[in-house]
């Protein structure tokens, strides 16, 4: 008994002990990290009305900067978009689409454009001497989605209260969030890279082209992979068939 225990140097008890120690060490860290992330998420509300100061500080002030907070804002954006889609009032909801909802796909597709924007923008800005890193662009873009999140949230109770004759209020709030959010994404990009407006506009066009290219390449890779896997599967079935013969 003793021998085996020594040889392995590992038992259930010790494992649990180690795990416990690890947990004890990790939990406070996790707690602390979560707390700071949530605290720093709050800065988005300051940015809402002070975009120039806000985005500059978000990038440069180590006390404000938090990529994890940005990721959390994207998560919140996706969740709110999902909840809005499913809980809109009868007059404003698309019931057919609601019935065919795929939750993971909806969540991913709602944030994917922003991630793609960040990646494409970083690609082009590094060619056009922008100051920002990928994490900067991603974080500021995520913080800039707050107006859209808020307007989506406001739309939910409104849709339960308005009649379709007053639907223009509903659509106005939706488009307000959209314009506000897209404008802030643009401002964030200019501020992060220290661009002039003209250069920012040029980069925006390039970035949109870049997004299209990324989408194209992604679809291409997807279909190629599909071809490769189906080819592999075919070979496998053929081999199995021959072996069984």
């Amino acid at each position: 008994m003793e021998k085996t225990e020594k040889k392995s140097g590992f038992s259930f008890g010790t494992m649990m002990g180690d795990f416990g120690a690890w947990i004890r060490a990790f939990l406070p860290k996790l707690w602390q990290g979560t707390k700071t992330t949530f605290k720093r998420m709050g800065y988005a509300f300051y940015i809402l009305f002070h975009p120039f100061d806000g985005f500059f500080d978000l990038k440069n002030d180590p006390k404000r900067r938090s990529v994890s907070a940005g990721v959390m804002w994207l998560v919140v954006y996706a969740l709110v978009a999902l909840i809005r889609f499913q809980s809109l009032g009868y007059l404003f909801a698309d019931r057919g689409a609601q019935l065919e909802l795929n939750v993971p796909v909806y969540l991913i597709t709602s944030v994917l454009p922003y991630i793609m924007w960040a990646v494409a923008n970083w690609c082009f800005s590094s060619l056009m001497d922008g100051d920002g890193k990928l994490s900067d662009v991603l974080m500021t873009t995520a913080f800039a989605t707050l107006p859209m999140t808020l307007c989506n949230l406001i739309q939910i109770p409104l849709s339960h209260f308005l009649s379709s004759a007053e639907g223009s209020i509903f659509t106005f709030i939706g488009s307000l969030g959209m314009v506000w959010g897209y404008l802030y994404i643009f401002l964030a990009m200019i501020i992060v890279h220290q661009y002039s407006v003209a250069k920012g506009l040029g980069t925006t066009i390039l970035t949109i082209v870049g997004m299209a290219v990324i989408a194209f390449v992604a679809i291409l890779i997807f279909f190629l992979l599909q071809q490769v896997t189906s080819f592999g599967m075919e070979i496998w079935t053929e081999v199995v068939f021959r072996l069984n013969e």
Binding site: F52, D53, F56, D57, N60, D61, Y90, L91, R95, G96, F161, S163, S164, A165
Partner: protein, 597 residues
């Protein structure tokens, strides 16, 4: 002993339960007909539905003429129902059969009589599509005269037997002014478009001709044009509305004296934006080579009591059909219209789709509809269209909702090989088939009767009567969303009739009715009406909680102001403390925009 008793008991109970189960299921299904009957649900998907029509009888030639005075099988090209009699126009034997309500032959009009029949005046275009016109030059290909003569403009031929019909295409019957046969009823007046003789003949049941319309002078068409009337209707003032083969300017209006009035309601031409642009740059020669876009001709028409004319178009190209189905082109290209006197389209298209037949096809089996006939029920505005392509006939209500459909292509009873004409009368639908040489008489099932009755009650504004009728429809077919719309509308009207807190006989006030209406509109996905009922309910709720809502808002505003003041004071204090610290020591360096530069 005991065991066998238990066994017997179990078997008895099982048998009883089974038979009871069958009995109950037989009760539960109002219609036990096994068929592939269907219609379209709220989402535009095909859903099975109770059988709409049963075949009452199939009339073939021996049924009409048992003795067989004429040996040839008939070709019923047009039908018209008037005042208890069904008029069948036979193109092959060139006569009209008048059938009574038991489909027995009353009389046959095969020979015209009268002193005032003018000689036949036939104009043949060089480009006309009649068989004779095309075959003659082919046979005499060698002779130079035939070659020279055939394409050079119109040829006038007089002659032919003016007492006979030649290739008649349309029939219409109105009630005349005189009662000659002395049965107490005014005699019918029969209008026959005698197409190949290029005239419209007006006669009575004995074939005595009272008027002939031919050589109608139309200035825009020149002196010589072939007047080939196909389908026609006659309105209350005695004016004729005629569809002419080969004339695409719309419906030809001829007044009772035989004078041309106007063309009206010409179908729109569909040209894509790209083609329009291309045409601007093309030279004359290129334009000559391009396909000319001419409006299509109407295939049939009918008229309702109020004088609205319902024409149909059968020759829709696939692009137009696709555009109409996708709602991407204007409904002015629709195959079914409702024209007012000035030619504007008044058809309501509030249904799921444009009234043009089937909505869903199996993959790659989609066909364009070929709407060849229409019949309207004047009282309710309900109309039925016949699609030659699928052999189905579709009935729509006045709003353009599809109510029910039946028919099909095939050789079995209730299907057609080449449907040609459609006529409706009450619960009956008559469809003639020119290939099978039959007239099929359909009788509405209880399901369709219930729909008709309910729709009629709704159309007449009898809201309270319509509610149980629509509920009966729902008991036959719970997918029938039109019934839910009807119920919702009825409930809403009942609510609107009640003032304030007034209660009706059932002890319901306006709000109760509105809530019911909302329930039904929700089921039917009828958002516009739902919104109206909802607004009424919301107004009431707002009134109830008006004080509370504005109280809360007031409190919030006051609270916000107080918060602002408190914050401002705090800021002041902090600024003071900051100033003290600045005076004391070095500033805390923070990255600010101003500092970075």
């Amino acid at each position: 002993m005991k065991q066998s008793f238990v066994k017997a008991l179990i078997v008895t109970v099982l048998v009883l339960a089974l038979s009871l189960g069958f009995a109950v299921s037989a009760f539960a299904l109002p219609i036990n007909n096994v068929s592939n009957s269907y219609f379209y649900d709220v989402n535009g998907n095909d859903a099975s539905a109770p059988l709409a029509f049963t075949v009452d009888r199939v009339i073939s030639y021996p049924d009409i003429v048992p003795n067989g005075t004429v040996k040839q099988p008939f070709e019923p090209v047009d039908l018209h129902y008037h005042d208890g009699y069904l008029y069948v126009l036979d193109a092959k034997n060139r006569c009209v059969y008048v059938l009574d309500d038991e489909y027995k032959l009353v009389t046959t009009i095969s020979r015209l009589s009268g002193d005032n029949i003018p000689d036949i005046y036939v104009v043949q275009d060089g480009s006309s599509e009649t068989e004779d016109g095309e075959e003659v030059p082919d046979l005499d290909a060698g002779s130079p005269e035939a070659d020279a003569e055939a394409p050079t403009g119109p040829v006038v031929m007089t002659g032919g037997n003016k007492f006979e019909l030649q290739g008649p295409m349309g029939i219409f019957v109105v009630t005349g002014d005189v009662d000659e046969d002395g049965d107490g009823k005014k005699d019918p007046v029969i209008y026959i478009s005698d197409t190949d003789n290029q005239r419209i003949v007006v006669c009575n049941l004995k074939g005595q001709v009272s008027q002939v319309y031919q050589q109608i002078k139309v200035s825009v068409l020149g002196d010589l044009y072939s007047f080939k009337p196909t389908r026609l209707v006659v309105d209350n003032t005695g004016d004729l509305q005629v569809i002419c083969s080969g004339i695409n300017r719309g419906i030809m209006q001829i007044n009772s004296d035989g004078e041309f009035r106007a063309f009206f309601g010409a179908p729109d031409v569909l040209i894509s934006a790209w083609e329009r642009l291309w045409r601007n740059f093309a030279t004359e020669e290129q334009l000559a080579q391009m396909v000319t876009f001419t409006p299509t001709e109407y295939s049939s028409l009918t008229i309702d009591k109020r004088g609205f004319i319902y024409p149909t178009i059968s020759a829709l190209d696939d692009a137009a059909v696709k555009g109409l189905r996708a709602l991407s082109i204007s409904p002015s290209h629709s195959p079914v219209k409702k024209l007012s006197a000035d030619g504007t389209d008044m058809l309501r298209r509030k249904g799921l789709a444009n009234p043009m037949g089937d909505l869903v096809w199996a993959p790659s089996k989609e066909v364009s509809p070929k709407i060849i006939d229409i019949s309207v029920q004047s009282d309710s505005g309900r109309y039925t269209i016949l699609d030659q392509q699928t052999g189905r006939f579709f009935t729509y209500d006045a709003d353009g909702n599809l109510l029910y459909l039946a028919g099909g292509k095939g050789t079995s009873q209730g299907t057609f090989q080449m449907p040609a004409a459609l006529e409706t009368q009450g619960d009956y639908v008559y469809i003639s088939d020119t290939t099978a040489k039959t007239i099929t008489v359909f009788r509405a099932t209880d399901y369709v009767k219930a729909i008709n009755e309910a729709a009629q009650a709704s159309a007449n504004g009898l809201w309270e009567t319509s509610i149980p009728l629509w509920q009966e429809v729902l008991s036959y077919n719970s997918n029938m969303f039109i019934a839910n719309i009807g119920l919702g509308k009825a409930e809403m009207r009942l609510a609107m009739a009640l003032i304030d807190d007034q209660r009706d006989a059932n002890g319901m006030n306006a709000l109760d009715h509105y809530e019911k209406a909302i329930f039904y509109f929700d089921r039917a996905s009828e958002k516009d009406n739902y919104s109206v009922a909802y607004t009424a309910l919301r107004g009431n709720e707002l009134e109830k909680y008006f004080g509370l809502i504005f109280g809360v808002i007031g409190v919030l505003i006051v609270g916000l102001i107080v918060l602002k003041i408190v914050r401002a004071q705090k800021k002041k204090k902090a600024a003071k403390a900051m100033k003290k610290r600045v005076d004391q020591g070095p500033m805390i360096n923070r990255a600010k925009k101003g500092d970075a530069e």
